[in-house]
């Protein structure tokens, strides 16, 4: 089995939004729509005793994606390699998956009448390239690979991170993306 996944090392992320724009270019996303956004978590505290980190957010490519369960046309589906995709030929734009997504990472592209979201650059993964946001990240904060391969970079990163590996709140969907944060308190 393969399980393609992304790990983001938040200690390396400088919140420069380069990934967000790289993604827009790579995937030809409409203006006003993002697959990938960088949130600023903080600053917490009072000046000058502050703490913050940046949180790049994409589709979590959950292990048990609720968006797939609820999609009436099976346009949302999970591939063998773990990537969750939307087949635009089938998507009727009912937006039910947006309701089912715990993280607000799906969006309805009004112009196209379909759901848009991070594809983990599946078209690149298929030709053995990493997603655009991974390849250009100025902090090299993103790691991409196969979690089921114990020798992959992601597997190593997950092992090394230990208890510093964080995930978004799980409501049964088992989010896939992992966030490493050692230097600050995880608050997301």
């Amino acid at each position: 089995m393969t399980r393609k996944i992304m790990i983001v090392d938040l200690d390396r992320c400088i919140g420069c939004h380069s990934c967000a724009v790289a993604c827009k270019q790579e995937n030809g996303i409409s203006l006003g729509v993002f697959y990938n956004k960088v949130r600023t978590v903080g600053p917490f505290g009072n000046y000058p005793d502050l703490e913050l980190y940046y949180l790049p957010v994409i589709c979590q490519h959950c292990n048990k994606p609720e968006c797939v369960n609820v999609c009436p046309t099976a346009a949302s589906y999970k591939r063998q390699d773990g990537i969750v995709l939307v087949d635009h030929n089938k998507c009727i734009g009912c937006q039910y998956c947006i309701m089912a997504c715990p993280y607000g990472v799906r969006t309805y592209d009004k112009a196209k009448g379909v759901i848009e979201k991070c594809t983990l650059c599946a078209h690149r993964v298929e030709v053995n390239e990493v997603p655009a946001c991974v390849s250009i990240c100025p902090g090299k904060a993103r790691i991409f690979g196969d979690l089921d391969d114990p020798n992959s970079e992601v597997s190593k990163a997950v092992r090394e991170a230990g208890s510093f590996l964080h995930r978004f709140a799980d409501v049964g969907n088992e989010p896939g993306v992992g966030y490493i944060l050692k230097s600050r308190k995880w608050r997301s």
Binding site: K37, C91, I92, P102, Y108
Partner: protein, 305 residues
């Protein structure tokens, strides 16, 4: 999340249609009040039509709807299927009624329709039962939608009955039905609120405080409670008292509902006006609670949108 008006209209009118048809079906099965069946059935069909049209406009690509059977486990697919079946049943029933033929078939169709009448609103409410949105993740929500359908149906049919000069027995029955529906609605709303208060992943956007004292207080207390619950309750109670003969009927009113009841008493020269007021109150109440459901329907964590 933002109010999804197309979906709201869909669920409101489908509920109204199914609620209305339930009463039509009851009259058919029990052989009473034949005069209201045709207007009732047509109202029901029309409501389903309006609801379906709204859902059509909700879709980005309705032309691809044939893919809908791609995932039968999906709440939306189920909702669409039961709505379609119900619409077909009611349509055939209405045609037969129009032609005044095949009474046996009609009775069977009425029975099917009666069974479907809580199922369809339940299905429309069920799609909201999602773990991603803590304020929705309860079966009380679809139950509330069923109760809402009962109220909407009762007050819709009330109007038709009033237009047909009903006898006292019919009136008493319908009054009872409306009262029951309304009480069920109030109870499910109360139960739902208790759930929301205890829901996991608490957040200010989906707190009960937002309803009771926050930015949604006016919508909740005014539209849901006062107009949506107390209004119909009061009107039903008024109806049960028999026709008001004059202003001096002197109904004792509570201070809280004094404004409305005063106005009602002043203008309620006949039951028709009471019926219209009742339907309006039911519509306002059912719309407002649906609006609230959307407004407190924030996801566990919302990052991009």
């Amino acid at each position: 999340m933002e109010i999804q008006w197309t979906l709201l209209i869909f669920s409101l009118f489908v509920s109204l249609g199914m609620g209305s048809f339930a009463i039509v079906a009851i009259t058919e099965l029990r052989g009473i009040m034949p005069g209201i069946r045709l207007p009732g059935a047509i109202t029901s069909l029309a409501a389903l039509g309006i609801g379906s049209a709204a859902s059509y406009f909700h879709l980005g690509h309705p032309e691809k709807i044939f893919h809908i059977l791609g995932n039968i486990r999906s709440g939306i697919a189920q909702e669409l299927i039961v709505t379609s079946i119900a619409s077909a049943v009611i349509f055939v029933y209405t045609v037969l009624l129009w032609k005044d033929s095949a009474p046996d078939v009609r009775r069977k169709l009425a029975l099917v329709g009666l069974i479907l009448s809580p199922v369809v609103p339940f299905a429309t409410g069920r799609i909201y039962v999602l773990a991603a949105r803590p304020a929705w993740d309860t079966w009380l929500l679809p139950l509330m939608y069923v109760a809402s359908a009962a109220v909407l149906g009762a007050f819709t049919m009330y109007l038709w009955i009033m237009l047909r000069e009903p006898d006292q027995k019919t009136l008493a029955t319908v009054n009872k039905a409306a009262l029951l529906g309304q009480v069920a609605f109030t109870v499910t709303i109360a139960a739902y609120l208790i759930y929301v208060a205890m829901a996991p992943h608490p957040h200010s956007s989906r707190s009960v405080a937002r309803l009771l004292t926050g930015d949604l207080a006016l919508l909740f207390w005014g539209a849901v409670v006062l107009i949506g619950q107390l209004g119909p309750l009061f009107l039903t109670w008024r109806n049960m008292q028999g026709p008001p003969t004059s202003l001096q009927a002197g109904v004792p009113v509570s201070p809280a509902s004094g404004g409305i009841s005063g106005a009602v008493a002043a203008t309620a020269e006949n039951r028709l006006i009471l019926a219209i007021m009742g339907l309006l109150c039911a519509l306002v109440g059912s719309t407002a609670i649906r609006m609230i459901v959307y407004l407190i329907g924030s996801s566990v964590q919302s990052y991009i949108y």
